[in-house]
Structure formats: C-alpha cells, structure tokens
Symmetry: D2
C-alpha cells in the first residue's frame, strides 16, 4: 500500500492521515512541497552521512528511516521511530517535510533512505522503484504470500496494481488475473505480465475467475483500488486457505463478514511499503527482468508542472500512468 | 478457530453454517448425534484402513480428512474435498454425520482422521488434543505468527483462549497477557501460562496493555470469544507490524477500520483448525510439556449426560471448563 | 537430487544404494525392470484406489508414497515408511520393484503416487515432471532457498542442472550462472534460462563468477554433477550467508573445510526429491511458463530401446538430453 | 558459532582466522587487549552516536556492525562491510581492535553495537547475552530450524552447548538430549533444560538416542564442540529430513559422507553469531524466562585477572562455566 495511489491532484489537499500509530494526526502544512518519489544527484552531505559522496546518482526511497530503531531492525522501517521534528520517520516526504517535486530536496538519514543508482539504469526506470514497484511487490506480492504455481487476482490496474502484476512472477505465479473496468488498462496489464484479463463491468466477472481456477477461487486476491467494493470482491474471490492483500489506500471502513469468512482460513494483510526490497528490485532491473520501461507515459520539465498535473488528472483520456517531471 | 467454542447447549440447535466454500449451507439433521471430540478404542475396521487394528487406543480428530486431495496435501485438511455423502470432509463429525457423544462412532478415512494414543497418556489429557489445544495452537499461535520474545494478548479465557495461552510458549512468547471479564478464569489463566492478567471490565484495560508493552501494543492479539467487540479490542491492541488472529467462531460481520489500519501493516487471520499438529502436540504431552491436566474439571458417565450438559451450561457457577463423558 | 542423474547405461548395473536410512542396502535384483519416469494411461485399478479410473492419463511420480505416514505428512514422502515388500517406499520404482521401461507398470499407492494429466499437456512435456523438473526445483531451488534478486550458480548443465536453471526464476533469481565444461550444454543453458555461462575449463572461472557478483560470490551455489570437485567449487563460489544445494548423486565422501567455512554462515543441503511440487509445476506447464519442450531430444519406440540406450550413452556426440521411449 | 568457545587461554595465542571471506587472514597484533563480551556504562560518546547518552548501562555485542551495509540489512551483521581500519566489522573486538578485558573499551558504531540494559537486569545475567546465549540460540536453535515437538540432540555441554539447551524450548523442542563425556556438565544440562542426558563415553550412546526417538534419530543435531568426531556424531544422529547445526568453532576439515547422506535430505548449517536476537533475548530475561543466572560460576576483580584465567583454564576441576571479571 502506498501513498502514491492518491492521484497527484488529490495529494494537493490530502485528508489528515496518521503516519504511524503513536503519532497524532497531522494536517498538511500550508506551503508544503509535495512528492515522495524521486531520482537525483547528491549535491551536499550531512555530517553523519558515510555511504554517499557529492555527485552520486541515487534513488530516493519514499520511506525515510534510521536503520537502527526497533522497527527498522525488525523489517518495518515504515514505522521508524527516529525523530525528524515532532514525528517519527516513515512516509514523511511531501507530507511532514518538504518533498521531491522541486529542484532540490533534503533527505534525512541519507545512508538508509537513499540507494545508489548504477549508470546503466536510466532515471525513467529507476523512478519506478522509488515507491510503486516496491509497494506492489512488498505489500501485494510478499504480504499476499504469493508462491510458485499460484493463481493471483489483482483488482485494479492502476500504476500500483500493474506493479503487483509485474512482480507476481518473482514468486512464480502461474496465473495473474487482472480485473478492472477500463479495457485500456487491461490491455496494458497483459503487456506487463497478466495472463488473463477480466472487465469487472461484466455481470459474470466472478464466475469468470472461478472458471479459471477450478471453481475454488484464487490463491491470492490483491486489492489495488482502496474502496469497500473492491475489498469485498477480494474476499469473494479468494479460495479457502488463501490470502487477501490490501495495497489500496482506504478512506473508509469496510464490513468484514467474519461470520462467513472465519471458516475459510483466509488471511488479510495491509500496510505502507517498507522499501526493504528496493535494492533487490534494482538488481532485477539491471538484469532487465522487470518491465519498468512501460510505466512512464509522459515527460515534463519543471516549467510544465501544471500541464503534468493536468495530464495525470485526466488519466482516463490521456492514458497517463506515471508522469515524469525533470529539469 | 474451532467448532468447540459454541457451548454444548448451543450446539443442539446450531445455526446453519458452511463447512467449506463450495458446499451449500446445511441445517443440522433431525436426530443427529452431536460431538466432535473423543478418545476411544478401535472396535471394527473399514476395508481400506491400513494403519490401525482392533483394540488400538486412538484420539479422534475433530476434522476428518482423506490425506490425498489438494487441500489435504497443501496443509488444509479442514477443507478436504473427499466426499462423505454430499459434502466434503473437514468438520463433519456431530454436524453432517453422527458425532462422538455416543458409545460408538464411525470415523471416515480413519488412517488420516485418527491418531494412535500411547498407553502413558490418559484419556483426560488426550481429549484436549481432539480439538481445543490444536485449535488454540494452530489458529491462535501459528496463524498469529507468534515468535520468540513476543508480547501476546489473548482476549477471552474460555477453554480455547486458555489453550492459546498454554501453547504460546511453544514459540517463545515473552509476555502472555490474558484479558477477560471473569476473575476466576483469569486466575486459571495465570496457572496455565499467562504472565499478566487484565480484567476487561476495568476502564483502563487498554492502557494497562500498552503500559506492559512500551506503549506500542502487543505483537500478536488473539481473539477467542467470537463477537465484534472483542475483535475490535484486538485491532486496538496490536502494534504496527503485528498480527490479529481470530480463534473465536463469529456469528456476525464486524467493521474493519481499514482507513485507520491500512497504514499499520497488520495481518488478520482466521480459520477452522486443520489438526495437522495433533501428533506433534502429543509428543509434547508425553514429555509433560503442556498443562493439559488442568482442563477437565468434571467427569460424567453416559447415564449422566443431562447433568453434564447442565454443568457445562452453567459454567459461570460450576467453574466447568471441559466436561468429560465416559462409560 | 535425483536417481535420474545416473545415466541409463549406468542404471543397468547400479551400485547398491540405500533408499532411506532405516533400510539395509539392497543390490538390484536379477531381471529387475529399470526406469522411474513415465507417463501413461490407467489400465486397471487396485481396490483401495479412489481418485483414478480406467482410462485416465497420468504422470508417474518417481517417488512412491502412502500420504499417511509421519514422513509423508511432514513433507518428506521420499522417506515414506509404508511397506511394499520388505522396504519402505520412496524411490523404489526400477530399483526395489519393477520400473517404467515396459509397456505396463504397477504403481503402488496410486492415489498419492500418480498425478492426473490434462489433455492439453503432451507426453513429451509431462515426462519432465516425473522426476527431473521436480528434482531441480525441490532439491536445487527450494533447498537452496533461492529468493528474488539472488545470484545463482549452477555447476553442471546436464538434464537436472538445466532443470534447476529452468525453475530458478520461480523464486525470482536475478542472475542464473551456468557453469560446465561443454559449450554445447552452455548454449542450451542460455536458451533455457541462464543469464550467464562460464566454461569451467577456463583458468579464471572463479574470478568470472566473482566479477559478476560484486566480488562476494553467489547467493546460492547448486551442485548438479555429483563429484567432490564440483562440490568444492560450490563452497568456493558461495558468499557469506549463502546456500550450497547438492542436487548431484554422490558416490564418494568429500572434504568439508569447516575450519574455513564455519565463519561464513553458509548452509549445505542435499536430498532425494519428494515430488511434493509435481502438481504445482504442472499448473505452470499448462500456462506455458516452463521450457519443458526443450528437453526431449530423441524419440524411440520400445522396439528401438537398444538404440535409445546407445544414443543416451553417447550424449556428448548425439546431443541427447532426454530420450523418450513410447509405443 | 561463537568466538567464545575457544578457551580464554587459547585466545591469548589465536591461530590466524578470517573474519569474513573478502578479508585476508590476520594474526593477533602484539599487545592486543582480549575479550569480546562485556557489560558496562557509557562514559563518552562519538559524534555520530544518536541513541545513547553518558551514564547509560549497556550490553556490548560481541559483533560490531554498521546497520546500513548490505550484509547488515540482510540479517548478517557478522559480515558487516563497514570499515574499521583495514577490515570490515563483525567479530573484531579483542581480535582486530582492543577488546573488553579492560576498565574501558571503545565500541565502534555504538548505535548498532550496544543494547540498552534496563535497571532490573543484573550484570551477571546480561553478560550471557553479549555472546553465548545469542550464539546458542541463533547458530544452534535458529539455524538448526528447531520447531515445536522436535527431538534435539546437543553434542557438547560447555557454555555454548548449554546455551543451546537453555534456548531450544523457545521453539518448543519436546526432547532436548544433552550428550557429553562429563557427568558434572550433564547434571548442569538437566538443570538448564535438557530432558535427557547421555554420556558419550558409553559404547551405546547412539543406540540410546535412537531408543528415545522411535528409532529414526533426532530432528536436529547440534554440534557444540568443534572437532571432526563430534561433527560425525551429529550426522549419524540426525533423522532423514533433519538438520545438523554447527555451533562449535572448527580448526580442521571434516569428511562429509555425501555418498551416504545425499539421500537423507539433511541440512548442515554453520556460522558466526549475528547478534540480531540480543534485544529479543533481553525481553525474555526480563520476564525470567531464561536460566541465565546459572552460568556465572566465579567472580573476580581486574586485580585478580590471572586467577580468573587459571580458574577458567582448569574448568574440569573448578567447575568454571563463565567467569565474571569486574571492577
């Protein structure tokens, strides 16, 4: 699950949201610079930075973390306890501190919040690892416990849902079933790794999934929209013993039908990306094993940032998936 | 999660419940013999039985299974597909076929639905493995992913909740926090393995848990009652990155506050016991490593079965935990 | 690790070998029919068989198992305790009982030793799952704990080594480095999934591997030959914290340099295939996700069986990889 | 596996040993202060230290690590790549840099190489977590994959072997079988958690183990001496599908009988402790769930350090297990 799924436009006025449990809700400060994804070059170093030098090319992790606190050490840097002002770390870029939609950005705890970017990987590929591929893989594929031979349904073929589809084969999924209302997105899904596509506008979308999976449903159902209806679709699609992984950012409570589901031995996961797999995913990008080059559909300079927002805001018309802003 | 948690009295008129996904709901047939737990002696063998002989002492698994279908082979015999009449197997004893509250009972697929009982283990210990210890361990401790050093809260100190507490140390829990409204049950919890007891009638029950756990909440919160209120207690008690395991049998849907929880990286599990750990637990009982002898509080003969039901039905007064009926 | 790796010619006079620990060594009985791989049609059923009917197309597992004993239930059917004559089961086909190089073969415990074969999968693909793909995947990839992003070296590009390479991507290997003396085999390796090929005749084979892996060596080194020299190559190639998986059938003891290796935090695995992944691999074959069609290089009828042996015996000249014998 | 197992006397003249693969062998520098275990109070802080302040009570990890490099982040800080002089980190205390047998010691990368010690835990308990309990648990119990119900044999009842026995129940071992030549050590083993003790001087030591384990051997055999004979004992004791964990520091190569073992599906692990469980073990010590108070048998001041060495050197006579030196 990733902050990325709120559209850029929405992010201009985010609703107050908790970064982590012990931290009180925070509204976006007036004038805050947005953006939590980015690729750049190191211009200046803090005194405690050991692993980077001026001029290094880097990927910015959307989650900042100290590497030392109990949450970082137990694999949950998205709940990092190190303080940056009044809060802990985690997702703070473009939210509690100024973000990446700017010519320069300060990254706290750089040793653990940046990753060195090798020359052969272009910016437009690396940017995908800054949030959405990591989110799709960690919160969708890993939390969903995808394993070799699995049938996996992904409800929602937006950028993060597509990232799930693009990484599900890293654990050997046999079937990757893309479900969305938009046929253009479904076409893209197929190019990116989906083995089957189902338009959820069809009255028999559920029967289609069951027909593909011997009548028992999928091993893993992954929610990548963030609304109650798609969550419920997932609990209906999952077979006994299977997993439901929430990747979508939810704004409302959902009904969980425990009276029906308790006996199904299913598992429901959710979360903010920890970015612990960024370096690993970069190895796969270097070997050209991930279809990162299909995601950036539009490029703009900083001068054109308003056009960038407009293009992204009208994704249905423009076909925008990820919009790259550079100097 | 276990069928056991419905009281015996309730089980006389069970509400229609699905055994597994593909099977239509079934009402309890008129005259059905109840009971899914039992210890006994083999009197007669079906022609396909290879591993038992007449006279063998056995524990009856509350889940019947074939050992061969895809669900059995993938560790989910509670969803066994082998047919016994119109249904699959799984929990069918005392529900879809006649059960164990009788002098004799037929056990289908005996090779995979019975476990040989060594002489040194008495009936009153072995009976706990027929359902509740396996349920507490598999659906509470294993599904809850308890690991060494964890703080574990168990909401509900009935027989199954106590079984969770008695087995949480098998994965090295550091703190086992029993939460219940009944101080007698909490006393028992302490004898059985709880390190801390909290009466949930206190207005500060939640603060007490947080005070015990550095202010972040427990690693694993285990629901062992089966109502919405206790499920919500669990989602409040669990720390970021933690697990909520439902062991209770739920009769109603619950509200799942995904808008607050998505960012907490928690995991929610549920299920019917698979009984795959019965033989393992028996090894621990043989080594006297589990407090099974604390659970049978009353003993009756078949002649006294109505008194048994009465005693169990008034558990609050009689202090009944498990009631043993024998010849 | 698989019995398959001894060449067919060798198998005519196999050296005495233990099937499992408690069983005394057995020499091959005079007149024993060889062969432990096969695809066929059910002609006749034993009285206890529930899941197959006459006419069903099936894959024969090279490991026979009961599905019920403690080894079968704990995921180790290669050490099945059920008796078939004086021994347990496991690898007995073509060794302790007559095997598959015949028009008909009896398969004990058919429900757990055969897998139904769907119409759309041809014999020449299915036969690979009867032993070598399962062996490569279970004993190489799974025992070697390959995980997404890993660098994997496979020493030996024979049929089983190639099966390792063909399945390593099921856990997301980033680099699959094939190492062999034969350039033809290395060419084939590349077609089947290897990302890099190194001829171990080169004096700098080791430096080449280290150059590909940042100077630390591979995450997983897989031995697929079965001699001490290749085992030692693997312990040299593995990085600290990595895994060495033996897939080769070894005929001699090896020196294990614990005085150097203890501090490297490595793990060494070995074993006979359990065939627990056969059905899962079949799902992947149905989705055309495994390159099974590259393995059968020659086809013969039973009349030509001596030519088949000759072709396979001269693999270096004939390029034989797997030789299919059919009616 | 832990540097601790070399006796203090031996450590005065250690043989050259690699810290990690890429580092050339190093001899102990003239005048090096020995000692890699310790508990103390922070006197002074380096400029980059964030998480400690002067006056804090701390446990010193025997492994120093940066928390940031790829080895630290993948759970292998014993192979930390951060440089301290010419080497990486890992086990450098009392070896490549001055150690803890002194009134004061400098700890590099304090944030990740020290753990805060709560007031209620006495020095004599905390010191056990500085190396040996972590070693026994990580390299013995975790690498050996001990799981609930397992039969575990520990060959060698020295301090680290006893630490294995004291922590094997954290994963629910049913049987913990202590094997040693010294009956006094075996007595102690029983007090610390062993369920059975076998003197390996008996000609039937192996038969005794098999009699305790249904004739198949143990699930996990843990080597805690460091010589070829005890390694071979372990490969003989382990059942098919089981694990051999080396905790001992080996000085010689061993013969690994792959020609017999390949078909047994066993796993062999080894390694230097990573200290990733120190904080977790401390939680268990706070709950009085580990028998740490049984290990310190003698106490000395720094003035008496020669007597301390003598006492430890004659452990057979003095019964010394761990010797505490304090101001």
């Amino acid at each position: 699950m990733s902050p990325d799924q709120r559209s850029l436009a929405e992010r201009t006025y985010p609703s107050p949201a908790p970064v982590q449990a012990p931290v009180p809700l925070a509204a976006l400060a007036e004038g805050r610079i947005l953006g939590h994804e980015g690729v750049g070059t190191v211009l200046q170093l803090g005194s405690a930075v050991r692993n980077f030098k001026v001029g290094d090319r880097v990927i910015i992790s959307c989650v900042s973390s100290c590497g030392v606190c109990s949450y970082c050490r137990s694999g949950n840097p998205s709940h990092c306890l190190a303080d940056e002002g009044a809060s802990g770390l985690g997702w703070i870029l473009g939210y509690l501190i100024d973000g990446t939609q700017a010519e320069m950005v300060r990254i706290p705890f750089a040793d653990t919040s940046l990753v060195a970017l090798p020359e052969e990987v272009p910016d437009s590929s690396a940017i995908l690892l800054s949030d959405i591929f990591s989110t799709g893989f960690e919160i969708g594929v890993q939390y969903g416990r995808v394993k070799p031979g699995d049938a996996v349904a992904v409800v929602g073929a937006g950028p993060v849902g597509l990232s799930v589809m693009a990484t599900a084969s890293l654990y050997g999924a046999a079937q990757i079933i893309a479900i969305d209302l938009d046929d253009n997105r479904l076409d893209l899904a197929k190019q990116i790794g989906a083995t089957h596509c189902i338009n959820s506008g069809a009255s028999d979308w559920k029967e289609q999934v069951f027909a593909l999976t011997d009548g028992y449903g999928v091993d893993v159902a992954i929610e990548a929209v963030g609304v109650p209806a798609t969550f419920e679709m997932c609990t209906q699609l999952v077979r006994p013993g299977g997993n439901v992984a929430n990747v979508g950012v939810h704004g409302k409570a959902v009904m969980l039908e425990l009276q029906k589901l308790w006996i199904k031995n299913i598992n429901i996961s959710m979360g903010l990306v920890n970015m612990t797999t960024l370096e690993m995913l970069l190895k796969l990008v270097k070997q050209e094993k991930l279809p990162v080059d299909r995601f950036v559909t539009h490029r703009f300079t900083f001068d054109e940032v308003m056009s960038a927002y407009e293009t992204f805001g009208n994704a249905a018309e423009t076909g925008a998936l990820k919009v790259l802003i550079s100097r």
